[in-house]
């Protein structure tokens, strides 16, 4: 109630209905039922595969490169940050994930670094966190936790993982974001057995950064965020819209792209949850990129044999 009151006052005082619109969107979703995902993959870890990606929802993906399994920004909880309810359930049952070798966290925001999720997934592998994020890492029982400064590369079990800079922001509680201004977030390049994957996490458009990544790595697959989109002036610096995500895809020179960070929960003021996905779909169709950009359904697994 107190937060609602403050929001109302701030909205009224500044003649800016933005916070009220955000709040009403979040409250509206909290009473709506969560959409279920049919036909979930029961055994996502395959015996013989070159590369596969299962989109769990938001920025959560299960990546398999040959015999190695990677989980990105896993979120399996019903809410994010206690208040924002997810609109669609996770695209996989966490109990179906028998093994994770590398869990990658792109930044400390609650929709990417979920304590409640990380205590429910297999933790025999390694946890990677962005620069200066150890201050936000509880003891979770992973075999190893690595804090990855930008451009740092580590090799474990013949897998090379490089932390790359992206344009975003960090912190966890809002009031800590100012002093985490230029740190606490990253993307990851995964290199293993001739396959290179770029996990973008959450980012805004910056041609210099992404062209630089494209020069340094020959990327097969880029996982790139496409939402939230609106209000654009508010989001632009920190979130790519579908067109900008496609530009990042071109800048890094990847062969294929899978969009992430969309359709899972309301984070912007788009007219509907599927807005970014639909916009991407229409651009991809218009440009004839359907054989390079794969828009996955919740729980869908794309496999390269």
């Amino acid at each position: 109630m107190a937060i609602a009151g403050i929001l109302l006052i701030v909205s009224w005082e500044g003649c800016n209905p933005l916070p009220f619109q955000f709040f009403s969107r979040i409250v509206g979703r909290s009473i709506a039922p969560t959409e279920l995902v049919p036909n979930k993959v029961a055994d996502p870890i395959r015996k013989d595969v070159r590369l596969s990606v299962l989109w769990i929802g938001h920025a959560s993906t299960l990546i398999q490169i040959h015999d190695k399994v990677f989980l990105t920004d896993p979120i399996f909880t019903k809410t994010v940050g206690m208040l924002a309810k997810r609109s669609v359930e996770p695209g996989i049952n966490p109990a179906s994930i028998s093994r994770v070798d590398f869990t990658l966290i792109s930044h400390t925001h609650m929709d990417h670094f979920s304590y409640g999720t990380l205590t429910t997934i297999p933790r025999q592998g390694r946890l990677f966190v962005p620069p200066n994020a150890l201050e936000y890492v509880p003891e979770l029982g992973f075999a190893e936790t690595l804090e990855m400064q930008w451009w740092k590369t580590v090799e474990r079990d013949r897998v090379k993982i490089t932390s790359v800079p992206v344009q975003h922001f960090s912190g966890r509680y809002g009031f800590d974001s100012p002093w985490m201004y230029n740190t606490g977030y990253n993307g990851y390049i995964i290199e293993y057995a001739g396959v290179t994957v770029f996990f973008g996490g959450d980012l805004g458009y910056n041609s210099t950064l992404y062209k630089d990544i494209g020069v340094k790595f020959k990327i097969d697959l880029a996982l790139l965020p496409i939402a939230p989109v609106e209000p654009r002036d508010f989001m632009k610096r920190i979130h790519t819209d579908p067109a900008e995500a496609l530009q990042v895809f071109e800048d890094v020179g990847a062969q294929w792209m899978i969009p992430i960070h969309h359709s899972t929960m309301y984070q912007g003021l788009e007219p509907r949850l599927s807005f970014a996905k639909e916009e991407l779909d229409s651009i991809v169709t218009a440009r004839g990129m359907g054989d390079r950009v794969f828009i996955l359904r919740f729980g869908e697994q794309k496999v390269w044999e």
Binding site: V10, G81, T145, E147, W179
Partner: protein, 180 residues
């Protein structure tokens, strides 16, 4: 600070959970920000046998030991305490000062020292943690020992603690805001 700036700060604070934010000023000094945040008061209602008093309360934690954090960071922290260090399991020494809005006796001011433990219950304590501890309050030149039990929620930012001094038969209900 103009109204626009104030509104931006409030917006950033309130909507960070939705991962939507406006531009931030670069390289904001952590200590100066922390000092400003500490000005936000906590609230308490003290029930003396003969009267009830409302008070504003300000706290600092000069020493915190956290057992729930990754072993790669020091378990000790002082004054500037990331909420995750509290709610994942910790014990902290707290000094606080109270200003009573109505005079409870000899003075409108009180002070206290507390030893408070936080035990995670839901989502490693980020959603709910149990608080247990002891406190020594000095009010009206009367020093009393209190037992403390309560809970913290909302990412460790909001605490509700009930404190009871059997010797003086005084109850304190406290809503505490802990921003770092």
């Amino acid at each position: 600070m103009n109204r626009m700036k104030l509104r931006q700060i409030l917006l950033v604070f309130l909507f960070s959970f939705a991962a939507t934010a406006q531009d931030y000023p670069p390289n904001v000094n952590r200590t100066s920000s922390w000092i400003i945040y500490q000005a936000i008061p906590s609230f308490s209602w003290t029930s003396f046998p003969s009267q009830k008093n409302f008070a504003f309360e300000w706290e600092v934690a000069p020493l915190v030991y956290s057992w729930g954090m990754t072993k790669q960071v020091s378990p000790w922290s002082s004054f500037i305490v990331n909420p995750v260090r509290r709610f994942t399991g910790s014990i902290e020494l707290i000094f606080s000062a109270q200003v009573y809005t109505s005079n409870p006796g000899a003075s409108n001011f009180g002070y206290s020292a507390q030893l408070l433990g936080h035990f995670p219950l839901i989502e490693l304590g980020e959603h709910l943690a149990l608080n247990l501890g002891v406190a020594q309050y000095v009010v009206n030149n009367l020093s009393s020992t209190y037992y403390v039990v309560g809970a913290s929620s909302l990412f460790g930012l909001l605490h509700y603690n009930v404190k009871y001094a059997p010797s003086a038969d005084v109850w304190i209900n406290a809503i505490e805001v802990r921003l770092f």
